[in-house]
């Protein structure tokens, strides 16, 4: 083959290719998609061409997050922790909410009272003398993005769906509050009764805290229900049919979520018309995006990254009260940590302020009380505070417990980034150094898989563990009954058992706000301080990096933004 004929062949092949490309058109039924996946387009949803143009014109808020849910059905996605939380709260469509606008620094410095709810979908409510039945009237101006008005049928169907599909909802409804299995009774299209077995502080508040309790447009959902899928879980994976401020314009599972204004939304809102959540796993990339003003909000930065942002023009680092607490705990069923004096020695040997200044870079507060210090709390009592850092006293206490000079055997400490976060190893190293001063040798064992870590945690198969307590809401009754009850705790993993604590904690959970509840709270908190079922380290705060151009920021106790209030 000579060079000339090769060239002719190559030219002919190229020409054929160009002609083929020019002639190729996609088939008429070609689907439209965003990169990665075609989100299920539904009746009434914005067509992609319109969306693209709307995206150009709309006031768009860009939000970079570490990870995004793969599933918009909160009954499933809500189990998966943070990937859902970043966007999930913004869907709203709950019966109640907490009004933080009137609180100190719009909720940044204080939690709302757990029973001080505002109506969202609920217009008004009252309860009977025994407070076993709430009569709730819905707003008459609520219409979903699909044009269906809100009725009590939607409430009844949604609550039933929660019970049938969402494990967390059952915990909320029946362990944190005290609902019966079938709490809803319809009176008319806008009025229903909600029964409780016994009144608790969070009877209404649980509807303000967890978007898994969102009220769905049952008319729309039922269009996609089948015999095999009566709750339309398949359709709900990629679609949202609620009554909140946003509708889903585009969803690429795990990558991107685009929300646009629900024109039928009943409430007030800022000028943000479009929200784009992008999952950017690499925190240094998210840091660069906010400093380059490519995005408006960034979540999930490390503490040193947050520190680097302070003082940067155009970026605000919000650091507000949050309900989480980081802790170290020990298996108390047998071994040295079954002795409360050993646990107290651990508490005395930890310099919590140094911990906050070190691994947390100041973005937390030293745990000073048996309960989170931001909670509505009885009057401060000096005896209800953790003792100051005192390693000598700790060593003396160990000696008193029969461990003169420390423990003979090293203690395996398991950690995982899922809880409390990427700083788990830093905290573990810090504690290793602190406890070595009193002769307790910690051997740090990172667990890569959150599945393994949570299994070992749930089964109590650990000697020591660093963990993050993350109650549904910063409220004493919820927190006290989560982990420490002898028999009826939702999750007692340490083997801790103190009948005095049980009596006080159960009273807190069953009493309504008042002096009697305050006293029970005080008693329970005192047991936590003295017996240390968990050695609480810090009270976590909520940090977000936000463009300085954004206004209308309200700080909710769940730590996430409700972006429909924002102005840009």
């Amino acid at each position: 083959m000579n060079r000339r004929s090769s060239a002719i062949r190559a030219a002919a092949a190229s020409a054929l290719l160009v002609i083929a490309l020019a002639a190729c058109q996609p088939p008429e039924d070609a689907e439209e998609m965003d990169v990665g996946q075609d989100a299920s387009q539904d009746d009434g949803a914005i067509e992609p061409d319109e969306s693209a143009q709307a995206g150009v014109d709309a006031t768009t808020l860009n939000y970079a997050i570490p990870s995004l849910t793969d599933n918009l059905d909160f009954s499933v996605a809500g189990q998966m922790g943070l990937p859902w939380r970043y966007a999930g709260y913004n869907f709203g469509s709950t019966l109640f909410s907490y009004d933080v606008a009137e609180l100190q620094e719009q909720g940044c410095a204080a939690f709302p009272e757990p029973d001080a709810v505002n109506g969202e979908l609920a217009a008004s409510w009252e309860f009977d003398a025994a407070r076993n039945v709430y009569t709730i009237t819905l707003r008459d101006d609520v219409v979903s993005a699909f044009g269906n008005p809100l009725t009590t049928e939607d409430v009844a169907w949604s609550v039933e769906r929660h019970f049938e599909t969402d494990n967390s909802a059952v915990v909320d409804y029946q362990l944190i509050a005290d609902y019966p299995d079938d709490p809803i009774s319809i009176i008319d299209d806008l009025t229903f009764e909600m029964a409780v077995n016994s009144p608790t502080t969070l009877d209404l508040g649980i509807h303000a805290t967890w978007p898994g309790h969102a009220i769905m447009d049952s008319t729309k959902m039922l269009e996609h229900a089948t015999d095999d899928d009566p709750w339309a879980e398949e359709w709900a994976r990629d679609n949202w049919a609620g009554f909140g401020p946003w509708i889903v314009d585009d969803f690429v599972p795990g990558e991107r979520l685009v929300l646009v204004v629900n024109e039928n939304f009943y409430g007030d809102r800022g000028n943000v018309e479009r929200v784009v959540y992008d999952a950017i796993p690499e925190s240094s990339s998210r840091l660069q995006l906010i400093t380059q003003t490519e995005v408006d909000i960034v979540a999930g930065l490390s503490f040193d990254q947050l520190q680097s942002l302070q003082g940067i023009d155009g970026v605000d680092v919000s650091d507000c009260v949050g309900p989480r607490r980081d802790l170290i705990t020990f298996n108390q069923e047998d071994g040295p940590f079954a002795d409360a004096r050993v646990r107290e020695a651990v508490s005395l040997a930890i310099d919590r302020q140094a911990l906050v200044d070190g691994p947390y870079r100041g973005f937390a507060a030293p745990a000073i009380r048996g309960l989170h210090q931001g909670m509505p709390y009885p009057d401060e009592d000096p005896e209800l505070l953790y003792d100051e850092y005192a390693p000598d006293a700790a060593a003396a206490l160990l000696t008193e417990a029969g461990f003169d000079g420390g423990l003979d055997e090293p203690v395996e400490l398991i950690i995982n980034d899922a809880r409390p976060g990427a700083h788990a190893e830093d905290v573990a190293v810090f504690l290793q150094g602190q406890l070595s001063q009193i002769g307790i040798e910690l051997v740090i064992q990172p667990i890569a898989s959150s599945a393994e870590f949570l299994e070992r945690w749930g089964e109590g198969r650990f000697q020591a563990a660093i963990y993050m307590e993350q109650p549904l809401i910063a409220e004493p009754g919820t927190t006290l009954t989560l982990h420490h009850l002898c028999e009826s705790a939702i999750q007692n993993v340490t083997g801790f058992c103190n009948p005095n604590f049980d009596e006080a904690a159960l009273a807190v959970n069953s009493l309504l706000p008042g002096a009697e509840r305050d006293e029970a709270t005080r008693q329970a908190a005192e047991v936590i301080l003295k017996d240390n079922p968990f050695n609480y380290l810090v009270d976590r705060q909520c940090q977000l990096s936000v463009s300085s151009d954004i206004e209308g920021y309200r700080h909710y106790p769940h730590c996430e933004l409700m972006v429909h209030h924002l102005d840009m």
Binding site: E32, M33, T60, N62, D70, Q79, G254, V276, S285, Q288
Partner: protein, 335 residues
């Protein structure tokens, strides 16, 4: 040749069966139970047991395996334990992104690496040769995540000429017409030139990262094989006949190309499982990150689907490599 090909193709399902069996056994040995994650943030023992029953995790491993094999034989790879999405759906969504990343990356790595390697081999101990060897050494000692972060810092953060590392497109919407499932291919075929431009711009840094890092391995391979070829009797004879140096180098490359092609296919097969670190740094929605998360979180159906698909791709590529090697060098015989 046809018999050889048929025999190799027949081995694919057998090999895949072995891979699936081994991986299922290994995954079963990994500690942890995904039911504790799926059951919610505060699962009781009863909640966990219910989830285990719903997902079949309470069955003996051999029963789970039997059920899985039966489903796979019918093309059903099951659903993710966590997201409840069909595994096939996730694979079809993510694999094209990985393929569109690794193919241009390999091509870039080959072009760069072969060029540097030829330079190193041809100039030997002279200055250009030493320069080429030095460059190879520096690149080879740079981990891919360092290269990635460096490129982002220089070209995006400092110079502002590269787009943000936020995935395949920018932070705004980009809507495509889906045809093949490969975003860039679809954009080009359907004439969406603006979208293609966005996709290409966002490919630059990740492709550069992988291309530069892996060029070092091509460079070393090329230098070794070209060095030997340039000293061969046939090259000496070509020079003695007065052929130009360019022609001499070309003849030497023809002699040395087989190991280079072999290495490129092996690398392509290895990358078919995704380049996890680069995918993470650039938020690239590829199959590697998805597969790793599935394995770490014990999402068994997703992990198995990932293993089967990447195993099938690898086996297919190796068969193609055998055929290609035989075509390039007819002296090679496999029987």
């Amino acid at each position: 040749m046809s018999l050889f090909l048929l025999k190799r193709l027949a081995l694919i399902p057998v090999s895949l069966l072995l891979v699936v069996t081994l991986s299922f056994a290994l995954l079963a040995l990994i500690p942890g139970d995904p039911a504790y994650v799926i059951a919610g943030p505060f699962p009781s023992d009863e909640d966990v047991a219910i989830v285990q029953q719903e997902l079949g995790l309470d069955q003996p491993v051999w029963v789970q395996f039997k059920t899985y094999l039966a489903n796979v034989a019918q093309g059903d790879f099951g659903r993710s334990l966590y997201t409840q999405r069909p595994v096939v759906e996730d694979i079809l969504r993510l694999a094209p992104n990985t393929i569109e990343l690794i193919i241009p990356s390999i091509i870039l790595a080959m072009v760069l690496g072969i060029g540097i390697g030829i330079m190193a081999a041809y100039y030997g101990d002279r200055s250009y040769g030493r320069l080429a060897r030095g460059v190879t050494g520096v690149i080879q000692s740079t981990p891919d995540f360092v290269m990635a972060l460096l490129l982002i810092y220089v070209f995006f953060f400092l110079m502002g000429v590269a787009p943000a590392p936020v995935g395949r497109t920018g932070l705004g919407d980009v809507t495509l017409l889906r045809w093949t499932g490969f975003p860039l291919v679809d954009a080009l075929l359907t004439g969406q030139w603006a979208t293609a431009g966005v996709l290409l711009r966002h490919m630059v840094l990740p492709v550069l990262t992988i291309g530069i890092v892996y060029s070092a391995y091509f460079a070393r391979t090329t230098r070794a094989t070209m060095g030997a070829a340039l000293r061969s009797p046939q090259v000496e004879f070509a020079r003695a006949n007065g052929l130009s140096e360019r022609r001499v180098v070309w003849y030497a490359f023809l002699d040395a190309r087989t190991p280079i092609v072999t290495y490129s296919v092996i690398l392509l097969a290895a990358m078919s499982g995704g380049v996890i670190i680069v995918e993470t740094v650039f938020a690239w929605p590829g199959i590697g990150r998805w597969g790793l998360d599935s394995i770490v979180e014990l999402d068994i159906p997703a992990a198995q689907g990932f293993i089967v698909v990447t195993g099938a791709i690898t086996l297919t590529l190796y068969i193609l490599l055998d055929l290609l090697t035989r075509y390039l060098d007819p002296r090679v015989k496999y029987e």
